[in-house]
Each structure stands twice: as C-alpha cells, then as structure tokens.
Symmetry: C2
Subunit: 204 residues, 2 copies
Amino acid sequence: MTDAQHCLDLLREIKDVSFATVDEKGLPQIRIIDVMLVDEGSLYFCTSRGKDFHAQLLRNPHVAIVGMTRDWKMVRLAGVAKKIEDDPHGWIDRIFDENPSMNDVYPKDSRYVLDPFRIDSGCAELFDLGVSPIFRQTFSLGGAPAHVQGFTITESCISCGKCARNCPQQCIVPSKPFEIQQEHCLHCGLCYENCPVSAIKRRS
Amino acid sequence: MTDAQHCLDLLREIKDVSFATVDEKGLPQIRIIDVMLVDEGSLYFCTSRGKDFHAQLLRNPHVAIVGMTRDWKMVRLAGVAKKIEDDPHGWIDRIFDENPSMNDVYPKDSRYVLDPFRIDSGCAELFDLGVSPIFRQTFSLGGAPAHVQGFTITESCISCGKCARNCPQQCIVPSKPFEIQQEHCLHCGLCYENCPVSAIKRRS
C-alpha cells in the first residue's frame, strides 16, 4: 500500500536526499542530508550547530525534501522540522548506532555537536517517472493538508476533445465534462493552453 | 583543474539534480530536474508552463541546486535562473536532440509547452565526502560573489590547542593564531563552542 509512511520509508532507503530551506535573506538554500531514522509517522535527521543549515532551521523550520529511487520514483516531503529537546544525546546515539559510518565523520564525542531533528507533519508526494503513463499521488503526514497542484476541467467543457488530443501523457478521458486522470498528469498545462473555451482551471 | 565550470560539468554528469525555489508564501519548494545542457559558463534546464516550479521561477528566479556523484562529491550551485527569450523553440529542440529520452515524456510538438532557462551567474561549491579529511571549495560563476561559511580563528587565540584536539576532521594547524584549513572544514562549530577565550568567529 502506498501512503505517507511508504514515502518516509522510501526516503530512508534512498538515504542521501536533498533538503531545501529558506535563509535569512529569503533565498533558497539546499544541501544533501542523510535520512537517519524513520519511525511510525516520523523522519529524523541531524545537523551540527555550526552550520548555516542549523541556523536556518531555527529561524524558519519549513523544509522541503526530495530524493529519487534507482527506478525513477521521485519522493517529496514538505513539512516542519522540529529540534528534539528531549534527550538529544540519546537520539544522536541511536542515530550513530543505526548509521555507523557517521563515526568516520564525527569520531568519539564530537558527535554531540550534532542536534537531532524530527519531521512528523507535512505533505508527501510520490511521482513515478519509471512507468508509462507517469503516476503520482500526494499524502498527508500527521494531518497536514495535502498540496493540490495541476488542472481540472470545469462544466464549461464543450467536449471538443482538443485537450485530450494535445495531452502528452494521454491522460484525459472523454466525458461530460472531459476528465483529467490526476494520478497520470504531468501538470504541464498544455490542455489549459489549448482549451478553446477556457474551461480548464488551475486546481491550486 | 577544479573551478566553477568543473562544477557545472559534474552537475550535467549527475543529470538528475535537486532544484530549490521559494514559493509565493516564502516556503521552500524542491523537485528533481534534469540538467539538460552545459556550455561554457552556463547551465540549462527546462520546465513546462503549467507547473508551480515555472510560476515560482518567474516570481523569484533565485534557485539553489544540489547533486551528488557516485563517489560522494556533493556539488552545489546557487544562482539566478533566467527564462530564455531569444529563440526558445530552438533551445528546446537542441535540448531534445541532446536528451532524446525527453521524447518519451513530451512526444512530438508537446515539447513546446516547456520553456528553457539558463543560469550563468552564482556561487558553486564542491564538497567531497569521499576523501578523508573531507575537501571543499567554493567558486564564483559569472562574477557573482562566492558564499563564505564556517569559522576563523582570530588574533585573540592563546594557542592552547583545545580547538585542534576537538576537531573531528583534525584540520586545525598549530600556529599563532591557530589556523583552520578551510578546505577540510565541516563547519561543525565544535572549535567555536570549545574555545576558552572566544577567539573563534563565524566567517559569514
């Protein structure tokens, strides 16, 4: 079954994933971070107190994460990263137990310059580019609203079929109104641009 | 030789890299995008006009990119993405010529729902985690200022050696004042936290 937990498990499997934050100037920042642990409904990572990333998280805890599996599944998670205040050394020890190569970078007690963080709410997305047509699905983690993107065909549709003929993934079904199979949609916007009666609207 | 161009070439080699942007709410957004072309001093990608990513780029063109080679070199580029206004169809054709698998996703003329973008100025960083001690270097692309991070030891240093003993990468050299080998520094901040006379300052 695919759900938010499956997305977390895939991110742990990928392990080296990209984390985006917003810095003090409002600019995007990015780096590769290891997904250290995944529990029921939570993802854990750590970073050292000297890094810009750490300062950015304390100022603005919103993060966006992406990773890709070897078979072209893109997994995204957007959420809030909370510094773990309860027994941080215990969490760092658990992280090092389960990720022993961390000892090569932070030997002995130097590990405690790392602070542990948890993400337990946000929006997850699985976007499988390894199948044809492509397949995508979004999930809520911890009750956060799932982010809606793409397009929808309204009642103004005259069923001319121009959208379906133009769709690069052939994911628009004849009907009254025509219907976009959202799970196969690239969000490219070609249907939206080609509708002669402007019956197609953005969902967001 | 390692320079900004080498970073661009590595990003093209990795190809599937992560792009971070800031959305209209000031939140970080992220996705995996193909590096389509790399020329002398420029990196090219494309995205379709229907995507949130496209709208974000037009509102706020600042992007941060990261990818990792198979041998653990993390490559970053932060810069400004400019939509190419001069002969966009010609650029899309060149992109599809050099990346023929794009035809599977956007067959025939559907390719022209994609707009081409160029990045020709910014700050690049190479961070090699596959060597010990780690190795990092930043470079300017197109004359943009290189981003400075990490720490420096000031003249207040009393040469007690506590920073060097605590450094997880053993990259602090005894001297008056002691000196951090910036190219081997993790930016973890353990020296900064342990200096008994607060002689260590952030560089940024």
